[in-house]
Symmetry: D2
Subunit: 397 residues, 4 copies
């Protein structure tokens, strides 16, 4: 069981995260962790805070001799902005922004200043998750598992990729797509579409408004057998949905193109099984790599809907809680369209969920113990299946 607790406010001294349950012997490099974190700060539509913060991870514990020890790993990220806030006199905020935790947070916790929910519900917290997931990602890479994402829609600009192709049959195309997206300001693999997306963002920004979008995230080389159908909370799709939906502003989760597939015939979107070079493979991947709540060895593909965030210059009708008067919701620095920057966060949660599922499948306490177990995992070779042929009697109960 892998556990992660994050702590930290947006303008407090730092973010802290403890990751508990990683096996011993995993080589960790601060550089790699920082590279992962940097991706979260990059992208068109980023707000002004991104120029204040240049996140750096400090490993506090759980790593000795450059390797994990199996002990809880504490990571810290300083808030550069803290020095500007320490000792600052703050006038309470009393006008809630619709769509944020301002009003619900005050209702739940009895806050008398809406800064309190804003401090913790801020997307700044996700930096801590990306940091911890960086550890998990090193583990996945060691096993040859790659997680990546890209933007397929911003506002009304949609890139018409074909999820069906994202089976193992098209590994080269996937690789290319992931690389191309990192070159794009909006993390869209297609150049022309990227430009259109950027234009849409700029138009929204000029209009004092915000834009959301859709991200596709995938994991390649995931072995079959993660998750299970035997109990509802063991399903891998359920665990992925929980993880991805826990990200601020994420409101929709689809395994593969689930909402599109709902309009099709069963014969169109269930992926045929064929034998190739001794392996059972698929020529399409509408299932998004998960059947019966279990990974099937094809790339895991999830589409994630991000709402246009509710903080933008032109504001929204609200009410001043101090006096009941109508008031426009306030604007603070914020991204007009954080969709591109959400990609590493979404990847992080997928990385976390998959690492947990793998550790459950593999057990063990050190990389040396786990690696041989991983190597003999079922890879959907026909020879690994051994079918009975004799009838048996259904009478065991």
């Amino acid at each position: 069981m892998l556990r992660m607790l994050t702590a930290g406010e947006s303008h407090g001294p730092k973010l802290t995260v403890i990751l508990e349950g990683m096996p011993a012997g995993l080589p960790i490099s601060t550089n790699i962790l920082n590279q992962g974190l940097a991706r979260r700060q990059h992208g068109c539509g980023a707000g002004p805070r991104m120029s204040i913060e240049k996140d750096e991870i400090k490993i506090i514990s759980g790593v000795l001799q450059g390797k994990t020890t199996g002990s809880p790993i504490a990571l810290e990220i300083q808030n550069q902005d803290f020095i500007n806030w320490q000792g600052k006199s703050l006038v309470p905020i009393t006008i809630p922004r619709p769509g944020h935790a301002d009003l619900t947070g005050a209702a739940k916790y009895g806050y008398k200043d809406l800064r309190l929910p804003m401090e913790r519900s801020s997307a700044r917290e996700t930096a801590a998750r990306v940091a911890a997931a960086g550890i998990c990602r090193i583990f996945l890479r060691l096993l040859g598992i790659q997680v990546g994402g890209y933007v397929i829609q911003i506002g009304q600009i949609r890139w018409d990729n074909t999820t069906i192709l994202l089976s193992n049959e098209f590994k080269a195309a996937i690789e290319e797509r992931l690389q191309a997206s990192e070159q794009s300001e909006v993390r869209c693999p297609d150049k022309a579409v990227s430009i259109a997306m950027q234009q849409a963002i700029q138009a929204a920004q000029e209009a004092g408004d915000s834009l959301g979008g859709i991200i596709e995230v995938l994991a390649c080389n995931v072995p079959p057998g993660l998750g299970s159908f035997v109990h509802f909370d063991r399903r891998l799709d359920s665990q992925l949905a929980a993880g991805l939906m826990s990200i601020p502003a994420i409101k929709g989760i689809a395994i593969g193109n689930a909402f599109g597939n709902a309009a099709k015939f069963g014969s169109e979107i269930n992926d045929p099984i064929v034998l190739k070079d001794g392996h059972l493979i698929r020529t399409s991947n509408h299932a998004g790599g998960i059947e019966g709540g279990i990974s099937n060895g094809e790339p895991i593909v999830v589409q994630v809907a991000m709402k246009p965030i509710p903080t933008f210059p032109k504001g929204l009708p609200s009410v001043d809680l101090a006096n009941g008067q109508p008031a426009q919701s306030p604007f603070y620095r914020g991204d007009c369209c954080p969709v591109a920057r959400a990609v590493p966060v979404i990847e992080a949660m997928m990385v976390f969920v998959l690492t947990n599922a793998l550790l459950e499948k593999l057990g063990g306490d050190s990389i040396a113990e786990i690696l041989p177990r991983f190597q003999v995992l079922h890879k959907m070779q026909l020879d690994d299946f051994s079918m009975d042929t004799q009838p048996w009697t259904f009478d065991v109960f």
Copy 2:
């Protein structure tokens, strides 16, 4: 903490479910539980098994004097079909159906007969969840909380309802919609659309194919303050996503119309706050009743995408695991379009998640202890908020 474990195979003697953590003193009637279960067996496109099984719930424990005692509640549902299977001689199934747990189950657990994963991954298991959720639903009703769902799409036939209207402002419309859907064979509130959906199902059936669809499920009168932004796994949307995605054939979850909203401007889909009769309300509900991971008092609205199931007469290309030969996937009795019948299952998981969130908010061990706590819960009255007006210094760290 509410816990639920289900057990039982599709053709075993019975389904068993234990629900642990319900408070004492909740009046339970087997009749009400059975009515809830009956809804799962009703609907166009139901397969032949539905005429075999007339599910009846037996309360085994946890209820005395007609009320819950706080002890674990065990419920049973007999499998009427069991007598036809007991002692039956079964030839192993070796051709996996794409889209099911057949292949992934065999890869994970090493089964030598694909009947084994089929027995447990069958949707029959969901009857146990509906049964246990029936207990939770009685609890919600006691608090005035109503959960209902309906079908908005089957195949390409979509009912163009307007989720935006599903705020508390339109309670009468919601009520009407829920009632209308129960009159429809396909659980769609609109008569004309229902007929079109039925025709689509019939056409698919004649083509030996299957159809999926989209279901909208909602919960009215949920108090604000369930879930939280303070930690990722406390978010109500995350918990709902996990619960709903854990249902067989469900592949997509959207809070409100999340995927549609991703194409809009922030100013269009964040719900303005207005004061009316002393209450802070919304005139739209794009957020689906959840802001910052917390219920905001508006109806909770979730859209759920169900794939067209992979068992249908014309079959799919597959491979016989016994010999590696190509083979068409087998067809067993099954629903051509179980979307309408999935509605009560989806409701059940929402009911379960909300009950758990409420019990966490309310604490307590008996209805007598819980009711007064519920009655003083924040209801988004302006007067309940008490804002600070004096500046304070950000220096507490």
Copy 3:
């Protein structure tokens, strides 16, 4: 993660238990399960109910072809006494028995009849645990792990065994001790002491009183490496303490002879490490097989204190809750000294905790996958350790 939920009242129709998380492919025999359960019904000092109930386990689900399938396993035990209670008219009980859940249960749940807490807090519930642990025990036996217990004290009669000897060096003595205890009416391995214990029980019974005692339970051939020091809730001793303390009437848990060891010098009770035939072994086992929260390969030894139960003919001063008048606590059929019969229950909880810890160490989903992992587990061979000799710099943070 292994999960177990039990349900059922003392006089309800049956006990139900669901065990979730067992790997597939474990051969299960109802006979073996029933033998395990029968041990719970045997022993001097057993109350009259034991002649009413002859417990038999029914496997409801999770087992096909005589083997576990990886699906949740539901087991049932009928309450033979139910037919005598069904439809019975019951006068409310209003005088709480000190030492039972009568008063605390009523205070917590608001019961108006003390039968309600009595129905569930009855030790009858432990039959369900023993049944489920029977499945786990088959798993442990497959791995060569043996769990057994015996009585070392009843009232003031104590058998002065020497826990120090219970290291792997004395396996034959352990085996003999476990066998001898099964021949004794009071489950004490020593014949003379057994007779004295029986006499003490008889004297207590004649005095209308009850007796408690101390049980020693042990697990042999447990591999090193279960549990951990890295986080407090991962410690094996902590998990054992939780499991064993959860049994009704159990009030004390000692790893080894902990309370006696607390009076000794450190040099007396820490177990020296010596090399023998290439293995690192101990010549004493004061640690009870656990060091730093981790099993060390020596037998795990736990002493468990059971209080004299509070139901006995002469009763105790109490108060009638119906009118506030002083009243003697009532006596119902009950064991005068259930210590011997508690042994299988205590074993059951140890079996459950160890199985869970093993599954965490081993991971995996089927016996076929787990066995090779188990076989290469560290067995405290010197050769398995590979020490660094070069200095390194403490600077990785």
Copy 4:
């Protein structure tokens, strides 16, 4: 649900702890937290490290305006010793100390230097728990609940207190006892016994040996109704056992004087119920405040056995893992008898478990919401019970 994760090595830069699940609005003072922590560093038999470290807590997050916000609370304690270790060249340790995690840690995690398990299994980690429990203790104090402990045995010197007296009837005596223990170098309430204990420690120190002991910890004014009999893992005694047994060197847990009580008659150690001033009270408290797994309103009393620690100058027979040669186990700075200093750690785990149980009983998200719920909790007044008098029929199943 209250969650706590600690991280940090003995000689790393700092200890970190995240406490998740505390309600909002609890006033926090660093001073009070530091006072709690200071108690852990005080006491006869403390090792030289105690003069190096003067622990100070830094609140990193979760507290604003001097109050908890409901967000995760991160606390840090610097390791003063870190500057002496940073960049230090370290020769691997290859001789395991019996009784520590050295050997089991290396077997489990594959360490090649025994410093690695020593860094995390060190009792230094408990400072983080004491820090986090300091927050919980402020919560308990707000509710009038007091937790304290004292030493009743060191080596063979035992203070013959009478646990039986520790019922609410003797609150003044309890208070006095707790205060007296804080005046004693060995935290024993009795002056003469304290001197004898100190002499025993000094003798052990001179002999190059170590001593253990027994601690009694109690909680006063705990309301009835925490924990439950309805499921085994809901029992308060089980949760306390898990928490207290998770502390390094703690090997035994007794609710009340459980091992002594096991030798008595049932009529001697079950606590009579009497009515006094409208309240149902006990004149003895052998049950240690817990009946049927539920707090009964009397002081919760737990005895905890601590083994004599295995690090002392004269060492123990061991084996050099680098070459298989016999070798005496090494001695590092360490306490000869840390029993007195363990008291605040034991209190901390009891505080944590009770806070969690209270939050489960009370629910809610802020102190303002929780306080009224606490005030109407059952206090064992006779008037709060309302018994049925009419017969009912046992036929609901």
